[in-house]
């Protein structure tokens, strides 16, 4: 099983629903600043390339890399790739060394100061939603049909269905991370 996220840049209207829903479901609608990224405590970063002649939007979150640097550098095994293909954190093993945060080429981990633990997609509530047969909250809320989540090993999954018919890229592929976050850039 290789669970993967997909985000469709060609459809996303940038409403921020996923970003805010992640904050609500996983971080209790916290209004405390995110000490690592600045801004909101959420697992999704919004980047607008304002200085491109035709500006574009990129939403980035944990890429659930097959070859995850955060897992490689973790000295205690707290960061690990689970059997479902998702990169997860065992808080009880984490010593708060922050190697994972430095190692992530996407900068997709942030530190919760109250616990000293790194945070990233997916957090507790979303993982629990999966167990209950629900989608991650960012996928559930998206009004533009710009998100999907599913198993790359299942040929009939929504993610595979979209990948097979659209132009899709992955971020920083040259880093050899084999990310499982697919970005649809057009038809």
């Amino acid at each position: 099983m290789r669970l993967a996220h997909l985000w469709d840049q060609s459809k996303c209207i940038g409403c921020g629903g996923c970003i805010a829903a992640c904050n609500a479901a996983n971080y209790s609608s916290s209004q405390e600043p995110n000490p690592t990224w600045g801004g909101l405590r959420t697992n999704i970063k919004r980047i607008v390339f304002d200085l491109q002649p035709r500006p574009t939007l990129l939403l980035v979150q944990c890429q659930h890399c097959e070859n995850a640097p955060c897992v490689t550098v973790c000295p205690t095994g707290a960061s690990y790739k689970d059997a479902d293909g998702l990169v997860k954190i065992k808080p009880e093993l984490c010593i708060g060394c922050k190697y994972c945060m430095v190692a992530c080429p996407y900068g997709m981990r942030w530190l919760e100061p109250e616990t000293g633990l790194p945070c990233k997609c997916m957090s507790m509530e979303c993982l629990d939603r999966l167990k209950a047969g629900l989608q991650p909250v960012c996928v559930t809320v998206c009004p533009a049909g710009a998100r999907a989540f599913g198993d790359l090993d299942d040929p009939s999954s929504e993610v595979n269905r979209i990948i097979s018919k659209k132009r899709v890229v992955r971020l920083l592929e040259y880093k050899g991370t084999e990310p499982k976050y697919f970005v649809v850039v057009g038809r």
Partner: protein
């Protein structure tokens, strides 16, 4: 108690271990938890007026929202998702406040509800006695909108004046002239079947149900075109951005009409059958009637190519779109030809000079639009340049020319849900939903006295307060809206507020108006009260429901805004309040639920009768699923009889003639000074999914939307300005000065600055601590004067400024 970091980790470990490691056990625990504690209740998001359908979800002790996918308008966006940040916001208004400083100083003391309500009512009684009840005005946007007619008419005033002029009056005027339609929900795009959608100044900020419907069309290959000086969020997806100069939309659209008419790309059959294009117009601009021809009927006349004669438009088999000649002793010409001549004044090259869009782009888009039978969205927030109604008349005419009205993928005419009004004021009496009749209100609304075509022009309230004419305004109740970030001419607003004897704000967070109020009364947020609402942003006749899912957090002594208003009414005019069914028994807040229930019951009874559906069935669907659909819209071959003068789509507006207005659209320059010098810029404001007056306070919005002016990097290079530099802006017309950071982005056209509306540049002194960052940025409205369109009172909220780099 101070914990070490290691102890923090230990705490986190204990909690996390339960969820991650002992999985089977926890799943067992969870199923019990689910049975007992998981809550899913339908709510309608009221963070903006989109009213998206959602479920409030409480799972594992976490509270959040999911879209209600069965709902006619399913959510949701960041504003909805961040609702709980507003719920327990540190700046939430907690107790009634009474002013102790000067107006504008923002100095208050907390008072109890009895004191606040009694003092407000005593003042209102005094004002009514001295100046008459019409000197009381309530202004609002959508919060508690349904009850407000009952409140204001029971007080005895006609002056319930909405935000609409600063939002959609120009579009509403256009809809009235061309289609006999009203405010924004009355027309919208059949997004599901759309092939080619143009948005003029509309960024698709709401409702998310429209985005979902459009999604299906996009999958099928629909193209989106956004005509706007700035690139809204939605344009970051696939779509074409046409960065037009501010205030020139009408020239762009008239040029499209010219291309489509001169290249004969219009839908001739549709235009003949459903529009008044074939009407013969006399030299004085009025339509030829059978009466002119000495016949009995007064029907408008066309030239029938089959009959080769002048025939009533109702009986013509083949009306000529292009015909001119003698009739009734005068030279007549078809309306279609007059439109064609008008549009010919805007050939692409000339229009390009006005609007800054290349001529070849205008031609290409006109052709694409016609060939694809496109649709132009009919405008939502159209109060931008005080010339906007012409643009939206042109947009509606374009829809008519390509046959996109009531047809698949065109504009639909919304079906009414028939929600009854809380009260109606007629010439002979006031009637209420509670079955009461009150004597008629004889004073005339202030707005219609000056702007007869479209009501809701708040600027007329300011004039009346300052000048005392046509009669004085002495009391203003501001309900869940924000004149300081909403209206034009902020200095005039301040002057008007100074001139009043009583200003009351009912709201949930400190808007800038609070500082100018005598009393600030804390209201509930939508999650703390139930509501039955019209499902506005869907063609179907439908209503929706929002459950009460939370109480105000500890320390917030907020009350239901309807209770606040009805108590003000009862304490001011007790006999009239009793007559409409609101008595002193509800003064006890715990009893108010009964009054609320009675009103809901009356609404449901009325709907039950109107649609012949059992009340219980509606009620059950509302509380369980959050909506009820009474009738579904389906596309047709064209519109039915329209409430225009002719019953047809009027590409040549006969109603405009009644107002002595031009029957055809024309581009007029905006009212503000046009920037010419290298350091002069248009400054425009706008919305997007992240922003509303309330959402501005949430950390989500504060994190995601910048409080800075957007500037095109090419302009910045010329002026030696770098990203993040501070500039001083000076209004070219009013001299107002403000400082703000600059954000460089190609998302704004050269020569134009953009800032979000209702966001930065806040001034309330009740905004404290880390939230003071709301003072950053600018309130663009502060650069405006009262430039209002005649007849409909739509102000310009865009302006122009001089930019000076501030060396710090």
């Amino acid at each position: 108690m101070e914990l070490t970091r290691r102890e923090f980790i230990a705490l986190g470990t204990a909690a996390a271990a339960a969820s991650v490691l002992r999985l089977p056990e926890r799943q067992h625990e969870k199923s019990e938890l689910l049975a007992g504690e998981e809550i899913r209740k339908p709510v309608a998001c009221q963070m903006c007026s989109g009213y998206c359908g959602m479920y409030f979800v409480k799972r594992n002790g976490k509270m959040y929202f999911e879209p209600n996918l069965e709902h006619p308008v399913p959510g949701l966006c960041a504003r909805a998702a961040a609702s709980l940040q507003l719920w327990n916001h540190p700046l939430r208004l907690k107790k009634p406040l009474k002013r102790i400083g000067e107006r504008g100083e923002g100095k208050f003391q907390e008072v109890d509800w009895e004191t606040a309500l009694n003092e407000i009512s005593a003042k209102l009684r005094e004002i009514i006695q001295k100046y008459g009840p019409e000197s009381i005005v309530i202004t609002y946007k959508v919060t508690h909108a349904w009850i407000l007619p009952l409140v204001i008419y029971t007080l005895g005033s006609p002056n319930l004046i909405q935000h609409a002029s600063t939002c959609h009056n120009s579009g509403t005027y256009a809809r009235m002239l061309v289609l006999g339609a009203g405010g924004p929900p009355t027309l919208d795009v059949d997004y599901e079947r759309a092939r080619y959608v143009m948005f003029v100044g509309r960024v698709f900020c709401a409702a998310m149900g429209m985005v979902r419907r459009l999604e299906r069309a996009r999958e099928a290959g629909a193209k989106l075109v956004f005509v706007d000086p700035r690139m809204g969020n939605a344009v970051l997806s696939e779509g074409e951005w046409v960065p037009v100069k501010p205030g020139t939309d009408a020239a762009f659209l008239l040029s499209m009409i010219h291309v489509i008419m001169s290249e004969k790309l219009y839908d001739e059959e549709f235009v003949k059958k459903y529009t008044n294009g074939a009407f013969l117009i006399k030299p004085d601009g009025t339509p030829l009637t059978e009466k002119d021809l000495g016949r009995e009927s007064a029907d408008y006349v066309v030239y029938d190519l089959n009959a080769k004669d002048f025939v009533s438009y109702k009986r013509a088999a083949n009306p000529a779109l292009e015909w001119e000649g003698e009739a009734a002793g005068v030279r007549v010409k078809t309306a279609f030809m007059l439109l064609k001549e008008r549009a010919a004044q805007y050939p692409p090259e000339k229009a390009s000079e006005i609007c800054g869009v290349p001529a070849e782009t205008i031609v290409r888009i006109a052709r694409e639009f016609a060939v694809n039978k496109g649709v132009i969205e009919d405008g939502w927030w159209t109060a931008k340049n005080a010339n906007d109604s012409d643009a939206f008349r042109a947009a509606l005419i374009l829809n008519a020319l390509v046959g996109s009205i009531e047809t698949p993928g065109g504009l639909y005419v919304k079906m009414s849900s028939r929600i009854p009004s809380s009260a109606t004021s007629a010439a002979d009496k006031v009637t209420t939903i509670t079955g009461a009749t009150l004597p008629p209100i004889t004073a005339k609304r202030l707005d219609l006295l000056k702007y007869p075509a479209v009501p809701e022009v708040f600027d007329t309230v300011l004039d009346a307060a300052i000048e005392g004419k046509p009669y004085p305004v002495k009391a203003l109740i501001i309900v869940g809206t924000e004149p300081f970030t909403r209206d034009a001419n902020i200095e005039k607003l301040k002057k008007a507020l100074q001139a009043m004897d009583l200003v009351v704000v009912i709201d949930v967070v400190p808007s800038d108006s609070c500082d100018w109020a005598d009393y600030v009364l804390p209201d509930l947020i939508y999650l703390e009260r139930t509501a039955i609402l019209d499902a506005m942003w869907v063609p179907d006749a439908a209503i929706e429901y929002s459950s009460k899912v939370l109480d105000p957090p500890p320390g917030v002594d907020a009350r239901h805004g309807v209770w606040i208003l009805m108590e003000i009414v009862r304490r001011t005019v007790p006999e009239r309040a009793a007559a409409v069914g609101y008595t002193s028994e509800y003064a006890d807040y715990t009893k108010f639920g009964e009054f609320s229930k009675r009103l809901s019951g009356l609404i449901l009874e009325s709907l039950s009768k109107a649609w012949n559906v059992p009340k219980e069935e509606i009620e059950k669907a509302l509380t369980e699923k959050g909506f009820f659909v009474f009738a579904r819209w389906t596309p047709k071959a064209g519109p039915g009889t329209r409430p225009t003068k002719s019953g047809l789509v009027e590409i040549y507006s006969l109603r405009a003639l009644d107002f002595k207005d031009d029957p055809l659209p024309r581009w007029k320059p905006p009212a503000y000074k046009i920037p010419t010098a290298p350091d002069e810029f248009y400054i425009i404001s706008g919305r997007d999914q992240l922003l509303t007056a309330h959402n501005a306070f949430t950390w989500t919005t504060l994190s995601l939307a910048e409080r800075a002016v957007w500037m095109n990097p090419k302009d910045a290079e010329r002026l030696g300005i770098k990203d993040g530099d501070v500039v001083e802006l000076e209004g070219l017309d009013n001299g107002f000065k403000a400082r703000t950071k600059v954000k460089l982005t190609y998302r704004v056209r050269e020569g134009v600055l953009f800032a979000y509306s209702k966001y930065g540049g806040r001034t309330s002194k009740l905004i404290t601590g880390r939230w003071e960052i709301l003072r950053e940025g600018v309130n663009v409205n502060a650069f405006t004067l009262s430039w209002l369109e005649p007849l409909n009172g739509s102000p310009a909220l865009n302006a122009s400024v001089r930019v000076r780099k501030v060396v710090v």
